[in-house]
């Protein structure tokens, strides 16, 4: 069987074509496989864990395919990139449908609060937060940005579409943040795991650079 370089976890929620096409574009010599087979996830060198739609549905579909354990296991032992709901599901709990997540990280997934949705001039801010927003990179104790930010300008714009955001208890895992209008966590990083709220696969040059960084990442 051909070696799987990157497995994109498919649990039946949404369109994974964009993610796999973008990975193939930055890594034309790698074997990218969209799969719902736990064996593939166990054998793959790297995992991309995307997600679209509502988090309770995503968790339900993940469980319906018996993928919970293989995703949790992969998140602990190989390069792992979560995208959008794939970030939110890593947490304990979401306000969306009052649902439990996978619980890999302490913290909650919260909805943008209606009362706060206006800019400095009082203009209404829409939900979902949809479009290109600046992402600021967190630095580690050695004042270095994470390897996945290599060759990406601090404050570069990425494409978002979401109504909920993660609020980790442990601020040490925050890998990046954005503002809408208040600051929210838009990336988390811990050991072999990196997860983002925005869509690198839809974020033009900056997004492709991040995917390329992930493909070459040796955590």
């Amino acid at each position: 069987m051909r070696k799987i370089d990157i497995a994109v976890v498919d649990y039946g929620m949404g369109n994974l074509r964009s993610v796999s096409k973008a990975l193939e574009h930055v890594a034309p010599n790698k074997h990218v496989l969209v799969t719902s087979n736990p064996v593939d996830i166990a054998n793959a060198e790297r995992i991309v864990f995307p997600g679209q739609g509502a988090m309770p549905d995503c968790i339900r579909e993940l469980d319906a395919r018996g993928l919970r354990d293989s995703v949790i296991h992969a998140a602990s032992n190989k390069p792992f990139l979560g995208i959008c709901i794939g970030l939110q599901m890593l947490f304990e709990h979401s306000e969306e449908g009052d649902a439990a997540g996978l619980g890999l990280f302490k913290g909650t997934v919260k909805r943008f609060a209606a009362a706060e949705m206006h800019d400095a001039n009082g203009a209404k801010l829409k939900v979902p937060h949809m479009g290109w927003n600046q992402v600021y990179q967190s630095l580690n104790q050695q004042s270095q940005a994470h390897a996945l930010w290599s060759n990406i300008e601090d404050g570069a714009r990425f494409y978002y579409v979401h109504s909920y955001y993660v609020q980790p208890d442990d601020l040490a895992i925050v890998g990046g943040y954005s503002e809408y209008p208040k600051r929210f966590t838009s990336a988390i990083a811990k050991d072999n795991l990196f997860a983002v709220q925005f869509h690198p696969e839809k974020s033009a040059t900056a997004g492709l650079q991040m995917l390329s960084n992930f493909v070459n990442w040796l955590p």
Binding site: S18, Q134, A204
Partner: protein, 254 residues
Amino acid sequence: MLAKRIIPCLDVTNGRVVKGINFLELRDAGDPVEIAKRYDEQGADELTFLDITASSDNRGLILHIIEEVAAQVFIPLTVGGGVREVEDVRRLLNAGADKVSINTTAVLNPQMVQDAASRFGSQCIVVAIDAKKVDNQSFEWEVFTHGGRKATGLDAVKWAEYMAKLGAGELLVTSMDRDGTKIGFNNPLNRAISNAVDVPIIASGGVGNLQHLVDGVKDGGADAVLAASIFHYGEYTVKQAKEYMQKNGIEVRL
């Protein structure tokens, strides 16, 4: 902060990009894949493809075009035109669309909007509203369907609220009075809808110069502005449009 988006729109029929005036008189503007790549290079924030093919024979063509664009252009792609059932939404998403725009079917069968949103998520469901000013005591703008040929009796602002409630993640508001006229967006219409809903709105119909884009955001309250002819025929590049908006105090991705 979040940037206002510029979205070039490609009306596609029989595999070619075309542009009409007031929904009529089509003029050829080129190959969709080439045009999509050009706009991506110029910094377009998203692309919208409207399949205006009249016969069902050539409907499959749009899927091939989207597949080809999605393999080369890594920004959000919206596809609309002839979307009748949830299965059509699935087909377009599988071809590489990120959002699907629903227009006539939303009026004929609002339940389909709700079904599509609950199956694929609101983030990928756009409801397109074609509105026209009417002499009517109870409301100002009426929703039209079938490419603007059929009146519905629906108040465009109320309709927008209802569609957002059913799960539309975004609204594409086209002023039929302005489409193709190059005299600017219908900003009162856009402002009324933008104020009425929490979801983002895309202003469409009537752009003739770069000031119109600025007015669409400032006066119309649009979260994104859509234009076709000013870009297709090389009058302005997307980059020029963004620079102009930035100079006028609008946050854009440059």
